[in-house]
Protein backbone atom coordinates (compact mmCIF):
# COMPACT_ATOMS: atom_id res chain seq x y z
CA UNK A 1 0.00 0.00 0.00
CA UNK A 2 3.04 2.23 0.35
CA UNK A 3 3.16 3.04 -3.36
CA UNK A 4 -0.53 4.12 -3.29
CA UNK A 5 0.24 6.47 -0.44
CA UNK A 6 3.27 7.75 -2.34
CA UNK A 7 1.23 8.28 -5.49
CA UNK A 8 -1.45 10.21 -3.54
CA UNK A 9 1.20 12.44 -2.00
CA UNK A 10 2.85 12.97 -5.38
CA UNK A 11 -0.53 13.85 -6.92
CA UNK A 12 -1.25 16.30 -4.09
CA UNK A 13 2.10 18.02 -4.64
CA UNK A 14 1.89 18.43 -8.42
CA UNK A 15 1.80 22.03 -9.65
CA UNK A 16 -1.69 21.79 -11.10
CA UNK A 17 -3.17 20.08 -8.02
CA UNK A 18 -1.72 22.86 -5.85
CA UNK A 19 -3.10 25.44 -8.26
CA UNK A 20 -6.63 23.98 -7.95
CA UNK A 21 -6.27 23.89 -4.15
CA UNK A 22 -4.95 27.42 -3.78
CA UNK A 23 -6.84 29.36 -6.44
CA UNK A 24 -10.19 30.47 -5.02
CA UNK A 25 -11.98 30.18 -8.40
CA UNK A 26 -10.52 26.93 -9.76
CA UNK A 27 -12.21 24.46 -7.41
CA UNK A 28 -15.78 25.85 -7.65
CA UNK A 29 -15.57 26.11 -11.45
CA UNK A 30 -14.31 22.54 -11.83
CA UNK A 31 -17.11 21.54 -9.46
CA UNK A 32 -19.63 23.26 -11.77
CA UNK A 33 -18.30 21.20 -14.70
CA UNK A 34 -18.44 18.04 -12.57
CA UNK A 35 -22.04 18.61 -11.44
CA UNK A 36 -23.08 19.55 -14.98
CA UNK A 37 -21.46 16.38 -16.36
CA UNK A 38 -23.00 14.12 -13.70
CA UNK A 39 -26.49 15.55 -14.16
CA UNK A 40 -26.11 14.95 -17.92
CA UNK A 41 -24.95 11.36 -17.31
CA UNK A 42 -27.87 10.63 -14.97
CA UNK A 43 -30.40 12.67 -16.93
CA UNK A 44 -29.56 10.90 -20.20
CA UNK A 45 -29.06 7.34 -18.94
CA UNK A 46 -32.36 7.50 -17.03
CA UNK A 47 -34.15 8.04 -20.37
CA UNK A 48 -32.70 4.69 -21.50
CA UNK A 49 -33.46 3.04 -18.14
CA UNK A 50 -37.10 4.21 -18.14
CA UNK A 51 -37.49 2.90 -21.70
CA UNK A 52 -36.08 -0.48 -20.64
CA UNK A 53 -38.53 -0.51 -17.73
CA UNK A 54 -41.35 0.23 -20.16
CA UNK A 55 -42.24 3.42 -18.26
CA UNK A 56 -41.46 6.10 -20.88
CA UNK A 57 -40.80 6.55 -24.63
CA UNK A 58 -42.79 3.33 -25.04
CA UNK A 59 -43.66 4.06 -28.66
CA UNK A 60 -39.98 4.27 -29.69
CA UNK A 61 -37.80 1.20 -30.46
CA UNK A 62 -35.18 0.67 -27.75
CA UNK A 63 -32.34 0.61 -30.31
CA UNK A 64 -33.17 4.13 -31.47
CA UNK A 65 -33.30 5.45 -27.91
CA UNK A 66 -29.89 3.86 -27.26
CA UNK A 67 -28.34 5.36 -30.41
CA UNK A 68 -29.80 8.75 -29.65
CA UNK A 69 -28.92 9.01 -25.99
CA UNK A 70 -25.79 6.95 -25.28
CA UNK A 71 -23.34 9.25 -27.14
CA UNK A 72 -24.50 12.06 -24.80
CA UNK A 73 -24.06 9.78 -21.77
CA UNK A 74 -20.53 8.78 -22.79
CA UNK A 75 -19.40 12.32 -23.58
CA UNK A 76 -20.79 13.51 -20.23
CA UNK A 77 -19.16 10.57 -18.43
CA UNK A 78 -15.77 11.49 -19.91
CA UNK A 79 -16.22 15.05 -18.69
CA UNK A 80 -17.36 13.86 -15.24
CA UNK A 81 -14.37 11.51 -14.87
CA UNK A 82 -11.87 14.18 -15.97
CA UNK A 83 -13.26 16.93 -13.74
CA UNK A 84 -13.67 14.42 -10.90
CA UNK A 85 -10.02 13.43 -11.18
CA UNK A 86 -8.96 17.09 -10.97
CA UNK A 87 -11.07 17.61 -7.82
CA UNK A 88 -9.64 14.41 -6.33
CA UNK A 89 -6.06 15.46 -7.10
CA UNK A 90 -6.49 18.79 -5.30
CA UNK A 91 -6.75 16.92 -2.00
CA UNK A 92 -5.87 13.34 -2.91
CA UNK A 93 -4.86 11.81 0.45
CA UNK A 94 -8.00 13.14 2.21
CA UNK A 95 -10.37 12.08 -0.58
CA UNK A 96 -8.78 8.62 -0.68
CA UNK A 97 -9.70 8.20 3.01
CA UNK A 98 -13.34 9.19 2.42
CA UNK A 99 -15.54 6.08 2.64
CA UNK A 100 -18.23 7.58 0.38
CA UNK A 101 -15.71 7.80 -2.46
CA UNK A 102 -15.29 4.03 -2.28
CA UNK A 103 -19.08 3.57 -2.29
CA UNK A 104 -19.34 5.87 -5.31
CA UNK A 105 -16.62 4.01 -7.25
CA UNK A 106 -18.23 0.67 -6.35
CA UNK A 107 -21.61 1.84 -7.68
CA UNK A 108 -20.07 3.20 -10.92
CA UNK A 109 -18.33 -0.17 -11.40
CA UNK A 110 -21.61 -1.99 -10.78
CA UNK A 111 -23.41 0.27 -13.28
CA UNK A 112 -20.68 -0.48 -15.83
CA UNK A 113 -20.88 -4.22 -15.23
CA UNK A 114 -24.68 -4.11 -15.53
CA UNK A 115 -24.29 -2.29 -18.85
CA UNK A 116 -21.75 -4.81 -20.22
CA UNK A 117 -23.98 -7.77 -19.27
CA UNK A 118 -27.04 -6.09 -20.80
CA UNK A 119 -25.34 -5.25 -24.09
CA UNK A 120 -23.85 -8.74 -24.34
CA UNK A 121 -27.25 -10.31 -23.77
CA UNK A 122 -29.08 -7.83 -26.05
CA UNK A 123 -26.61 -8.01 -28.95
CA UNK A 124 -28.71 -10.67 -30.74
CA UNK A 125 -32.07 -10.53 -28.98
CA UNK A 126 -32.65 -6.74 -29.16
CA UNK A 127 -34.28 -6.86 -32.61
CA UNK A 128 -36.90 -9.32 -31.40
CA UNK A 129 -38.25 -7.18 -28.59
CA UNK A 130 -37.03 -3.59 -29.10
CA UNK A 131 -40.31 -2.38 -30.63
CA UNK A 132 -42.43 -3.80 -27.82
CA UNK A 133 -43.62 -1.16 -25.30
CA UNK A 134 -42.81 -3.51 -22.42
CA UNK A 135 -39.34 -5.15 -22.75
CA UNK A 136 -38.58 -8.61 -21.31
CA UNK A 137 -37.74 -9.07 -17.64
CA UNK A 138 -33.94 -9.10 -18.14
CA UNK A 139 -34.08 -5.72 -19.87
CA UNK A 140 -36.33 -4.31 -17.15
CA UNK A 141 -33.91 -5.61 -14.55
CA UNK A 142 -30.96 -3.93 -16.31
CA UNK A 143 -32.91 -0.65 -16.39
CA UNK A 144 -33.79 -0.87 -12.70
CA UNK A 145 -30.23 -1.73 -11.61
CA UNK A 146 -28.81 1.13 -13.68
CA UNK A 147 -31.31 3.65 -12.31
CA UNK A 148 -30.63 2.62 -8.70
CA UNK A 149 -26.84 2.66 -9.21
CA UNK A 150 -26.85 6.20 -10.61
CA UNK A 151 -29.16 7.51 -7.88
CA UNK A 152 -26.67 6.00 -5.43
CA UNK A 153 -23.74 7.62 -7.25
CA UNK A 154 -25.35 11.06 -6.91
CA UNK A 155 -26.10 10.50 -3.21
CA UNK A 156 -22.58 9.19 -2.45
CA UNK A 157 -21.07 12.11 -4.39
CA UNK A 158 -23.08 14.63 -2.39
CA UNK A 159 -21.98 12.94 0.84
CA UNK A 160 -18.30 13.15 -0.20
CA UNK A 161 -18.67 16.91 -0.59
CA UNK A 162 -20.53 17.18 2.68
CA UNK A 163 -18.06 15.16 4.75
CA UNK A 164 -15.03 16.87 3.18
CA UNK A 165 -16.41 20.33 3.90
CA UNK A 166 -16.62 19.75 7.63
CA UNK A 167 -12.93 18.76 7.70
CA UNK A 168 -10.73 21.47 9.23
Amino acid sequence: MLHVRGWLDWLYATGWASAIRENEYAFPWIECVHVLAITLVVGSISIVDLRLLGLASRDRPVGRVLRDVLPITWAAFGLAATSGFLLFASNAPAYARNPFLLVKFGLILLAGLNMVVFHWWARHSLQQWEASPLPPLRAKLAGAVSLLCWIGVVAAGRWIGFTMMSRP
Partner: protein
Protein backbone atom coordinates in the same frame (compact mmCIF):
# COMPACT_ATOMS: atom_id res chain seq x y z
CA UNK B 1 -36.14 48.17 1.80
CA UNK B 2 -36.43 44.85 -0.03
CA UNK B 3 -33.14 43.77 1.49
CA UNK B 4 -34.25 44.64 5.03
CA UNK B 5 -37.49 42.72 4.57
CA UNK B 6 -35.55 39.68 3.35
CA UNK B 7 -33.08 39.99 6.24
CA UNK B 8 -35.92 40.17 8.77
CA UNK B 9 -37.64 37.20 7.14
CA UNK B 10 -34.37 35.22 7.20
CA UNK B 11 -33.83 36.00 10.87
CA UNK B 12 -37.35 34.81 11.68
CA UNK B 13 -37.13 31.68 9.49
CA UNK B 14 -33.81 30.65 11.03
CA UNK B 15 -35.43 30.35 14.45
CA UNK B 16 -38.47 28.29 13.43
CA UNK B 17 -38.54 24.69 14.75
CA UNK B 18 -38.43 23.35 11.15
CA UNK B 19 -35.23 25.26 10.40
CA UNK B 20 -33.68 24.20 13.71
CA UNK B 21 -34.42 20.55 13.02
CA UNK B 22 -32.74 20.82 9.60
CA UNK B 23 -29.68 22.40 11.20
CA UNK B 24 -29.31 19.64 13.79
CA UNK B 25 -30.24 16.47 11.87
CA UNK B 26 -26.94 15.74 10.18
CA UNK B 27 -28.17 13.79 7.16
CA UNK B 28 -31.09 16.12 6.36
CA UNK B 29 -29.24 18.61 4.17
CA UNK B 30 -27.21 16.17 2.03
CA UNK B 31 -30.37 14.08 1.55
CA UNK B 32 -32.36 17.09 0.34
CA UNK B 33 -29.41 18.16 -1.84
CA UNK B 34 -29.35 14.67 -3.40
CA UNK B 35 -33.04 14.99 -4.32
CA UNK B 36 -32.27 18.47 -5.70
CA UNK B 37 -29.41 17.16 -7.90
CA UNK B 38 -31.49 14.21 -9.16
CA UNK B 39 -34.23 16.64 -10.19
CA UNK B 40 -31.58 18.80 -11.93
CA UNK B 41 -30.46 15.66 -13.78
CA UNK B 42 -34.05 15.12 -14.98
CA UNK B 43 -34.25 18.75 -16.16
CA UNK B 44 -30.85 18.64 -17.88
CA UNK B 45 -31.56 15.39 -19.73
CA UNK B 46 -35.05 16.51 -20.79
CA UNK B 47 -34.15 20.05 -21.81
CA UNK B 48 -31.11 18.80 -23.74
CA UNK B 49 -33.06 16.24 -25.78
CA UNK B 50 -35.87 18.73 -26.47
CA UNK B 51 -33.44 21.48 -27.49
CA UNK B 52 -31.23 19.15 -29.56
CA UNK B 53 -34.40 18.06 -31.39
CA UNK B 54 -35.23 21.75 -32.02
CA UNK B 55 -31.70 22.12 -33.42
CA UNK B 56 -32.22 19.02 -35.57
CA UNK B 57 -29.24 17.25 -33.96
CA UNK B 58 -30.98 14.42 -32.09
CA UNK B 59 -34.17 12.36 -32.32
CA UNK B 60 -35.02 13.49 -35.85
CA UNK B 61 -36.90 10.19 -36.44
CA UNK B 62 -39.59 11.42 -34.01
CA UNK B 63 -41.84 14.42 -34.82
CA UNK B 64 -40.91 17.54 -32.80
CA UNK B 65 -44.36 17.77 -31.21
CA UNK B 66 -43.98 14.22 -29.83
CA UNK B 67 -40.50 14.96 -28.46
CA UNK B 68 -41.96 18.06 -26.82
CA UNK B 69 -44.81 16.04 -25.27
CA UNK B 70 -42.32 13.49 -23.95
CA UNK B 71 -39.84 15.90 -22.35
CA UNK B 72 -41.40 19.29 -21.53
CA UNK B 73 -43.77 17.90 -18.83
CA UNK B 74 -40.70 16.28 -17.19
CA UNK B 75 -39.06 19.72 -17.03
CA UNK B 76 -42.13 21.20 -15.26
CA UNK B 77 -42.51 18.27 -12.88
CA UNK B 78 -38.82 18.42 -11.95
CA UNK B 79 -38.99 22.19 -11.43
CA UNK B 80 -41.71 21.61 -8.82
CA UNK B 81 -39.42 19.12 -7.03
CA UNK B 82 -36.58 21.66 -7.31
CA UNK B 83 -38.70 24.45 -5.81
CA UNK B 84 -39.74 22.20 -2.90
CA UNK B 85 -36.23 20.86 -2.16
CA UNK B 86 -34.79 24.35 -2.71
CA UNK B 87 -37.28 25.79 -0.21
CA UNK B 88 -36.10 23.25 2.39
CA UNK B 89 -32.47 24.29 1.80
CA UNK B 90 -33.46 27.94 2.18
CA UNK B 91 -35.25 27.12 5.43
CA UNK B 92 -32.07 25.48 6.76
CA UNK B 93 -29.87 28.51 6.02
CA UNK B 94 -32.08 31.43 4.94
CA UNK B 95 -29.49 34.23 4.90
CA UNK B 96 -26.99 32.19 2.85
CA UNK B 97 -29.38 32.10 -0.08
CA UNK B 98 -32.07 34.78 0.13
CA UNK B 99 -29.55 37.62 0.61
CA UNK B 100 -27.06 36.10 -1.83
CA UNK B 101 -26.73 37.96 -5.15
CA UNK B 102 -25.86 34.70 -6.94
CA UNK B 103 -29.10 33.14 -5.66
CA UNK B 104 -31.06 36.14 -6.90
CA UNK B 105 -29.34 35.86 -10.28
CA UNK B 106 -30.16 32.15 -10.37
CA UNK B 107 -33.87 32.85 -9.81
CA UNK B 108 -33.89 35.48 -12.58
CA UNK B 109 -32.18 33.04 -14.98
CA UNK B 110 -34.65 30.31 -13.99
CA UNK B 111 -37.65 32.53 -14.80
CA UNK B 112 -36.08 33.34 -18.18
CA UNK B 113 -35.41 29.67 -18.97
CA UNK B 114 -38.98 28.70 -18.05
CA UNK B 115 -40.41 31.52 -20.18
CA UNK B 116 -38.26 30.36 -23.10
CA UNK B 117 -39.39 26.74 -22.65
CA UNK B 118 -43.03 27.87 -22.67
CA UNK B 119 -42.45 29.99 -25.78
CA UNK B 120 -40.89 27.02 -27.59
CA UNK B 121 -43.49 24.45 -26.47
CA UNK B 122 -46.82 26.32 -26.61
CA UNK B 123 -47.08 26.82 -30.41
CA UNK B 124 -46.55 23.06 -30.94
CA UNK B 125 -49.80 22.24 -29.12
CA UNK B 126 -51.93 23.97 -31.73
CA UNK B 127 -49.69 23.39 -34.72
CA UNK B 128 -47.19 20.48 -34.61
CA UNK B 129 -45.24 21.86 -37.59
CA UNK B 130 -45.11 25.41 -36.22
CA UNK B 131 -41.30 25.71 -35.98
CA UNK B 132 -40.68 24.41 -39.51
CA UNK B 133 -43.43 26.41 -41.26
CA UNK B 134 -41.09 29.18 -42.40
CA UNK B 135 -37.32 29.70 -42.62
CA UNK B 136 -37.51 32.52 -40.07
CA UNK B 137 -39.35 30.32 -37.56
CA UNK B 138 -36.71 27.64 -38.02
CA UNK B 139 -34.04 30.19 -37.11
CA UNK B 140 -36.01 31.43 -34.11
CA UNK B 141 -36.41 27.83 -32.89
CA UNK B 142 -32.66 27.22 -33.15
CA UNK B 143 -31.95 30.50 -31.35
CA UNK B 144 -34.40 29.53 -28.55
CA UNK B 145 -32.78 26.10 -28.22
CA UNK B 146 -29.24 27.50 -28.03
CA UNK B 147 -30.24 30.16 -25.48
CA UNK B 148 -32.13 27.61 -23.41
CA UNK B 149 -29.16 25.20 -23.17
CA UNK B 150 -26.91 28.13 -22.16
CA UNK B 151 -29.40 29.34 -19.56
CA UNK B 152 -29.80 25.94 -17.86
CA UNK B 153 -26.01 25.51 -17.69
CA UNK B 154 -25.75 29.01 -16.17
CA UNK B 155 -28.48 28.17 -13.62
CA UNK B 156 -26.60 25.05 -12.57
CA UNK B 157 -23.32 26.94 -12.19
CA UNK B 158 -25.02 29.73 -10.22
CA UNK B 159 -26.47 27.06 -7.93
CA UNK B 160 -23.02 25.69 -7.17
CA UNK B 161 -21.60 29.19 -6.62
CA UNK B 162 -24.20 30.09 -3.96
CA UNK B 163 -22.11 28.02 -1.56
CA UNK B 164 -18.96 30.02 -2.32
CA UNK B 165 -20.21 33.60 -2.40
CA UNK B 166 -20.16 35.04 1.07
CA UNK B 167 -23.12 37.16 2.22
CA UNK B 168 -22.11 40.26 4.14
Amino acid sequence: MMRETLAAFSAWLELTPFSRTLQTVEWAIPAVQTVHILAIAAVMGSMLLFNLRLLGLRGTDVPLARVSKRFVPVIWGSVLVLLASGAVMIAAEPARSLLNPVFQLKMALLLTALALTTAAERPLRRRPGYWSDTVVRGRVARLFATLSIGLWVAILCAGRWIAYVAVH
